[in-house]
Amino acid sequence: MRLTRFLLLAVVSVAVVTGILFAATRPRYGGVLRVEMHAAVQNLDPAAAAPDNDAQTARARLSPLVYETLVRLDEEGRAEPLLAISWQADSRLQRWEFRLRAGVKFHDGTVLTPAAAVAALSAAGRGWQVSGAKDAVVIESERPVPELPRDLANSAHAIVLRGADGVLSGTGPFRVAAWEAGRRALLAANEDYWGGRPFLDGIHVEMGRSSRDQLLDLDLDKADFVELPPQETRRAASRPAMIWSSAPIELVALVFDRGRSSPVDIRTRKALALAIDRAAIHTVLLQRRGEAAESLLPAWLSGYAFLFSTAREPGAKPSGAAPLGLAFDAADPLAKVIAERIAVDCRAAGLPIQLSGKSGEVKAGMSELRLVRIKIRPAPAATALAELEAGLGLGGYEPDPAPESIQTAYEAERSLLEECIVIPLLHLPEVYAVGQRVRSWKTPAILLTGEWRFEDVWLLPEKS
């Protein structure tokens, strides 16, 4: 299915539909958008490693506001011009030339040149041969890279100017005005932004805030943009706020430890997979947010997800099974209620489950079975699957992001699903509750891929 429906769903108001008569309303300049998140981002350096998935994701959201790439993905996942206005490849798709946009300056005033782009891309460590031409950057690879533009949209390939003092400078609509690692940040509008100054004067980001506190701040009008856990959607609907969400880009799944070497026999794994009532979890616990998953990659990303639909059958119950240990992040309320429901479903199917909640990310080795939440990077199916496997600790195959490898991706995913190494449960979107004053002009503030586009965000004046 297309991303289109999610694009427009992303701006559907749940409670209050503001009067949008495009001909009559124009955006207003000014105001600081107050954003809160639970992750603690230490730095926005695209090249630095993040301590955990949450911090990695949060940085991937904030970084593009400051550091831009040559190319970015549109709402449908297609590469669109950003710092590069056009590109072309040779017939072998091994040599790509990207024409740089003129008139772009870094935040420190330095003009964007091919040399700066080359320096930034070379530091990405992808084994490319990056060189500069007159007003272009040339990237050469030993292997065909048909998806290079999409790859360059990854914020890890942002064009960053590293100053002698180690200070980073980007070209994005916002620049870092203040930074308290892991606590808060203030991004100020880039007055000289090549795409036009953003409507907002700035973005204030509070990090390390719990979901409960974020929603409270939204209620108290201390925040404009907060994270909304999927299971809180209904409660949030009673608030005078809008709900913005991305496409389902997060997989919630059960993973058997040690993958194919799991001590749990395949009969038990299959029985467990069949016992879980995903529909109930999706409908009730998640209030129909996201979708029940029968595949690892969501349908919008792979296209072949419908091939994995299976009916929920009781199946042959393995008798006398010893309780399986299920580890989950006790600090994650959604993981907790899902784990409890899984325990109930398995218990009804004769498969006793021993819940083991531990605060923090659930790592391999904690238990025979783990409930994990893992972000799916919008990428070609093979790449996304390989990253998913690596993230799940299953040791994936070497992805070949060529379009032809859709078959390989399907085969690999089918293998994992048939062996019930991973039992997909849900595909969740990133959902945000947004204050009444927040508007987005032409582009949605949240893309289907989860990316934040705040350059078109503006704030209604405060009521006097």
Binding site: L3, L8, V12, G19, D74, Y304, L307
Partner: protein, 367 residues
Amino acid sequence: MGALMQQDELRRAARELAAKIVDFTGSKDSVHVFLQERGRPGKEEGAVFQRELESALRSQGIRTVQVPEGTAEVAITMADNFQGAVWIAQIQKGENRHIVMVPAPRSTAGGENDFSPLVVQVQPVYEQRQPILDLVRRDDALAVLDPGSISTYQWSGGWQHRRSVSLDHLRPWPRDLRGKLTLEGSSLRAYLPGVVCRADLDQPGIDCKEVDEAWPLDLPDAKLTGGRNYFQAAGWPFFYSVARASAATEPRWLFAGLDGKAYLYNPAREVLAIFDGWGNDLVALRNECGEDIQVLVALAGDNGQGDSIQVFRMAERRALPASLPAQLPGKITALWPAAGGAAAMLVCHNPQANRYEAYQVSVTCSR
């Protein structure tokens, strides 16, 4: 929305898929190829691909058959994915099932963007104190149907009243009165519950007959149920409004049901989909924004809020939002197709002004 696949892209993908199918079935087999509809592709695109695929299979020695008598059955599906789309072939050969797929990516050349969201244009036309049932425009002439008369106006810096002819009817009107006005040339026909009146835009006079005649809706032979505010057509469930939701050879209709839900039917009167949360009025629109049919849906507002309208694109069995909702100042009292289906005429009651306001609603695709 995505343009139709280029012919050569289809051919290339078909050949690639055929090669994979032959790898599994062998080159001496006969296969039955059929298309499984899952929202994509469009009928035409799917038919083209199927032809190309069968051609490619034949070129590799496979015999294609039209009825499932072959040794293998191949179900073709096109599904969207992040890279664009993928053609999937589910091959059933005896007890064995095999799946092969080939990508159908969009062009990776930069700079192109052939999609733009729709924008609902709501243009005020006319307003009055009396309820407006329907109105039609022709250039600078306007005919307004209200519960008691048909009034005509001429634009001259504003709508200048020309004449009103009273409607002649015996039966009392239902509480929620509905009426439709059509204009052919200068000939006006007003459809009301149990009454059809003929008048002329340029001429005075009116001829009303007490007759239970089918209304000019997207569904033929639909009549307003006597004394009620909903329609009935033989063999179909009652409905408030109906819109033809597909321009394809096989028509589909969206019915706004009496239970507040919208139902998508095929000609076999099978419910293909049910949509919740829509209002009772919907209208099919045609425009040049990629797809051929959109549906303009009235959405009920919350207490104290006016209704809104939104455009949905019908993608097979799904209704995908194609525009942002447009807020209106009050409750929608009428919504009819207009301008040959390119626009809609909408009437809503503005409680603050205590007037009925008529708007022409059209959809543009621009960025």
